[in-house]
């Protein structure tokens, strides 16, 4: 057998191609499952979430200079620089599909942790499956308070839940009343899945404790073709504040119907969700000057913490949008989870769980206005301070709490 120049060349190429493979084999790859609605009515949330997670992935897997866990150096230092890979699954806003997808991710894709899910109703089933397989579940952006109160060992939420958000709203009302603003009666308007129901219950409870009167409490069917009967009732109730808990489609229809039926409340204080969505402001933003929504993120923070603006630019390059309340929580959720995996020095579910439970990240090392990230025994971070944002002149400004505020609230809204 004669060795031709061609063979030598081919051999050389083959060897060159194999070298990185061999190098790669030494470090393992860490696979994390990401469950979101990628089709159906909430698909846009899934698409945006994917961009947020890819931004976080870039921070984790590449060497960046940010003051965030895992930002410096490539990959997870605890696992010899292993890179994180994400597997995306579509739950179509259906709790049963979420359950099936979680099971598939764990058994087929061999993910070591799962993060999700936008809808709280889906988080319920996904977290149950994770518990059964002893795989940690990070609830990045679900806000139902009941989620962490089920005694699950593998459930973690770094962001605030609706009772914390609602408490912040009432703290704000109390502060406004001290300044002489009349806030006595409230109208609750919430959709009929777990998000709206929990939010409505939390608001009703706090209102009772602090002496606010709920004049009407409307639970409506999500994705209704018409909301005129509902708005009619809100209009007759004439409350000082309207407090909606709605996803984007219902939020758009609510605001349009309010305008059509001549209902203009003094103030709208919204439970995020649809009211943090660009699509809603594109559609009806002209009718929403002065609307207040709760949030856990504020781009104003970039003034104090420049990396917030830089990371926002990275996300914007991918998605064409600024970070909002949801995408910022998704970004932080993956950073926190990956940091725990690195500290666990293992992809074993129980070790990651213990590392998550031991998490203690100071607020300055996040892109959020939070005090810090530290989970209680139920997996909830109670130091995630919510903020209230007001939509003024086409953008959101932080108006509460005072330490985060950059402007005074405009009341009544225009």
């Amino acid at each position: 057998m004669t060795i031709t120049r061609r063979d030598v060349l081919l051999g050389a190429t083959a060897t060159a191609a194999l070298v990185p493979l061999a190098a790669r084999a030494q470090t393992t790859e860490v696979v994390i499952g990401v469950i979101y609605p990628f089709s159906g009515g909430s698909a846009q949330q899934g698409v945006d979430a994917q961009k947020a997670y890819e931004t976080a992935l870039e921070v984790i897997n590449k060497d960046t200079a940010f003051d965030l866990p895992l930002a410096k150096g490539e990959g997870l230092p605890g696992l010899g620089g292993a890179k994180v890979r994400l597997v995306f699954a579509d739950h179509q806003a259906d709790p049963q599909k979420g359950r099936a997808e979680a099971e598939r991710l764990i058994t087929q894709e061999k993910v070591c942790a799962i993060i999700g899910t936008y809808q709280s109703a889906v988080a319920v089933t996904v977290s149950q499956i994770c518990e059964r397989y002893q795989v940690p579940f990070v609830s990045a952006d679900n806000s139902s308070p009941s989620l962490h109160r089920r005694g699950l060992k593998y459930y973690f939420r770094a962001a605030p839940h609706d009772e914390m958000y609602s408490a912040a709203m009432f703290d704000f009302f109390d502060a406004m009343k001290k300044k002489g603003t009349k806030i006595e009666t409230l109208s609750l308007f919430h959709e009929d899945t777990i998000f709206g129901t929990d939010s409505g219950n939390a608001q009703a409870k706090i209102a009772g404790e602090r002496g606010y009167k709920i004049v009407t409490d409307i639970k409506y069917r999500a994705n209704s073709p018409s909301l005129s009967a509902e708005v009619q009732q809100l209009k007759s109730a004439k409350a000082d504040v309207l407090m909606p808990s709605s996803y984007t489609t219902d939020g758009i229809l609510l605001v349009k119907t309010m305008a059509e039926l001549g209902y203009k409340p003094n103030a709208i204080v919204a439970q995020d969700a649809g009211f943090s969505e660009k699509a809603l402001y594109d559609a009806v933003g002209d009718k929403l000057e002065g609307v207040i929504s709760r949030g856990t993120f504020s781009l104003d923070l970039a003034q104090k913490r420049p990396m917030v603006g830089k990371i926002n630019d990275m996300f914007k390059a991918k998605s064409g949008k600024d970070f909002n309340d949801l995408t910022s929580r998704q970004f932080m959720g993956l950073i926190i989870l990956a940091d725990a995996i690195s500290r666990a020095k293992s992809t074993d579910g129980e070790k990651i769980r213990d590392a998550l439970a031991a998490t203690d990240i100071p607020g300055e090392q996040t892109i959020m206005p939070w005090k810090r990230v530290k989970f209680d025994e139920m997996g909830q971070n109670n130091d995630a301070d919510p903020v209230l944002l007001q939509y003024i002149g086409g953008k959101f400004v932080t108006i509460f709490p005072p330490q985060a505020a950059i402007a005074e609230a405009v009341w009544p809204m225009k």
Partner: protein, 292 residues
Amino acid sequence: MTAQAIIQSLASGLLMGLLYGLIAVGLALIFGLMDVTNFAHGEFLMIAMYLSFFLFAFFAIDPLLSAPLVAAALFVFGAVIYLLIVRFAMRAKANAGMVQIFTTFGLAIVMRGLAQYFFTPDYRSIPQSWLGGKTISIAGIFLPEPQLVGALVSIAAFAGLYFFIHRTDFGRAIEATREDPGAVALVGIDKNRVFAFGWGLGAALVGLAGAIMASFFYIYPDVGASFALIAYVTVALGGFGSVFGAFAGGIIVGLVEATTALVLPPSLKSVGIYAVYLLVVFIRPRGLFGSI
């Protein structure tokens, strides 16, 4: 509860009901003509809304002006769908009913998927149209202009359809084909042409509804689903095969929905619709004006 609130609810219900009627009429027409239920009816509505949206976004044509254009485009679309797909599904020898169901149902899923791929799942809306956001107030009763115009268009379209079916030769050909598709061939009527025309007409009607709705409703790939369900109930309530029944059914559904929301918690407002529907099929299985 004040009298004003009741009148307002009834007025809103009537306006919405006329629109439900307009959506359902196209469905009833196709069903009455050839016994095929178009499970992609909601997706036809979605396509019409997007068309209206894009005509506004790219050419600044107001939805009110683009409505005839959208209806015409949907006419062609409906006829083409019949000629390319439904015609072949109807040739199935075994399980013809099932084949038709899965054909139109599959079409719905494909259309939704394509819409999501090409238009993205983002929610669109037409913020500044001639009618959008405008409202007429009479003695404290608010009548949103887009819905009001939609109701008038709906009445006009129904009157036109009624006249067309009962007073023109082509309308009579449709009626005859509906009665006996085999016999009409003997007198030289091309069954396929009539069916294609029927699909076109049904699609044009839902296209009209979609164009009007684009001025006050949000638009996204799944938008058809919630309206399609109501359209099926409307057709079944009014009576299969009856175009008039579908129109009357729409009005009834709108009014029942509004009154239910007055007396029951709003999250239960569709319960009223289904209760009335069950009552009707219990007493009169063929629906209120059904002939089959």
